[in-house]
Structures are given as structure tokens and as C-alpha cells.
Symmetry: C2
């Protein structure tokens, strides 16, 4: 089941061509996470798998801003839990918040990310959430491309739906 | 029913305090759309209302990047339609795309936005989508704070779940 989802996520998202990666290197393969996040069936199945991986006692879901907000919305509908969206930088007007949505002190948060290779963006989001007085109970990666290990080394509990060893 | 949803969206999102708006002006009221988009019940009800407003024949949903991706994900699960996310600027690596997700030529798109006051961001997203060869069949605003009129003047069919007259 999980393996079947894994192979379909990868089949939907792995593009072949001539690409320049974010690192500046060229590659004949590019992993486009939007391909699975924008497919309603794959989004729903992935959200179900993420929701099933949540430990008991979670009060709030969170995700870094960007593509992961598609996934966290689908998980929230599945789990009936409120959402927080963590900006890279605090908003410069209005609420001036880095964390959008309501996360009360003492909230027990599951932080959700679509794909993590280095864990950097997830870790920054986790730290921003912790500064508001909540606890990161678990980080759930839909696809772990290496980020889980770095996040565990930083002290977080991490689970993933699919593990992929990056080609390079 | 729609009126009840309207009053609950506003009650959830209208904050009172001392705020600096994006225009630079101060205000004692701030409308924080994340408050309704991050509440799973309000998100679900709003998505249901948006999905119910879709005309027949829509093949794809789209939303500008940002908060509206929470809403478009929920609508996609309700309607079973694929999603496109429109960046403000094209990606600088990988697919180099401004429009994420797959929108084939000839797609009949419903462009969804959470709140629109001027219509500017929605119009830019609509134009980026049209450049890929698809047709914007309708623009659906969860909350119209004045944007619908501007978008209609630009030639788009627009519908909204809730209409709010801005306080200023």
C-alpha cells in the first residue's frame, strides 16, 4: 500500500529532460513535487497517509509557506485540526506575524512538509513555531529525500510516508 | 446559509487592535484571512461553497501562490479537479515555470482567490494562465472586498461566496 503510493508519487513527479537544479548543476532528472501535490487523488491519498502517521494528542498542524500548504490543507480536512502556516520572514504589516493562523501557547504541533532533502526549511519553521510557545511533537515528511536524518540529529521526532534515496 | 457563513468568516477574521496596513496607513481593524483559511470547519464550508459555484465544464482549478493554496486544495478535494498554482514570478530553476502543476492547452480553468480588494494579483495570475493556452472560465472569490468589479471590467466572469464592503 505505502509502496504503491510511493511508486505513484515518484512516477507522477519525476520529470526527464535537461534541467538546471537549485544548486546550479544540470540534471537529466527533476523531481517536481507540484505534480503529486496538484493531483487530487494523489493529494488525498498522501494526506490520508500523513494523517494516519500523526501520534495521539496533536492539537495543531503546521507547514512552511509554499507548496506544503496544499498538503497541510488536505491533512487538516482529514484530521479536523487547525493549521498554522510559517512564513520564511515575518509579515511586514498587519499582524506582523511569522506564524499565520492561531497557535496557542502549549499547542502540540505536527509540522508537515512535502519533500525534505536537507531539512533546513523545516528546521527553521520548527524553530519559529517553538518561539511562539508551542511544542513540535512530530515532523511528518510526505517524501524524505534525506532531510529526516538531519532533523532527527537536531532532536526532532520525524516520520515519513515515503523514503527516497536521492539519485546523486 | 451563505449569510451565516459570511458572518462566521468575518467574525473569525476581523481583528481589533492597532495595525499598520500594507498601504502604510494605521487602522484599528485588520482583516486576517488566515483566520478562516486555517480553521478546518470554515475552510471546508468555504471550499464547499466555492465548489458549488463552479459552472459545468471546468477541467482545472488554479490559485495564486500564497494563502489561496489552502483554499484551492480544499476545493480540489471537494470537486476532484487538478490544481495549478501561479507564482508571482517564474521559478528560476528546474521547470522554470510560473504555473506549477499540469494545465494542458485548452483547459477550462476556474481561478480561485481567498480575498480580493483590487483584483490585481488575480488578474496577473489569470494572464499568466492564459499565456499557457488555457481559458479562464470563471474567477471565484471566497470574499469579494471590491476586486470582483475590477475583474469584471477586465472582461472576466466573476462570482463570489461573500461580498464585503471595505470599511474604508
Amino acid at each position: 500500500m505505502a509502496n504503491d503510493l510511493a511508486s505513484r508519487l515518484l512516477a507522477a513527479s519525476e520529470l526527464h529532460g535537461d534541467f538546471v537544479l537549485s544548486s546550479g548543476r544540470r540534471s537529466s532528472v527533476y523531481f517536481d513535487k507540484f505534480r503529486f501535490l496538484t493531483d487530487p487523488d494523489l493529494l488525498k491519498e498522501t494526506a490520508h497517509a500523513v494523517a494516519s502517521a500523526l501520534p495521539a494528542g496533536i492539537t495543531h498542524l503546521a507547514a512552511p509557506e509554499g507548496a506544503a500548504t496544499l498538503l497541510v490543507a488536505a491533512v487538516a480536512l482529514e484530521a479536523g485540526l487547525p493549521i498554522a502556516v510559517v512564513r520564511k520572514e515575518p509579515k511586514t504589516y498587519g499582524t506582523m506575524s511569522q506564524v499565520e493562523g492561531r497557535v496557542p501557547q502549549g499547542a502540540r504541533v505536527a509540522l508537515i512538509e512535502d519533500v525534505s532533502t536537507t531539512g533546513h526549511q523545516v528546521r527553521r519553521a520548527a524553530e519559529a513555531l517553538e518561539q511562539t510557545g508551542c511544542t513540535i511533537e512530530v515532523i511528518v515528511l510526505a517524501i524524505d529525500r534525506g532531510g529526516a536524518q538531519h532533523l532527527r540529529e537536531a532532536g526532532y521526532r520525524v516520520t515519513s510516508v515515503v523514503e527516497v534515496r536521492p539519485a546523486d
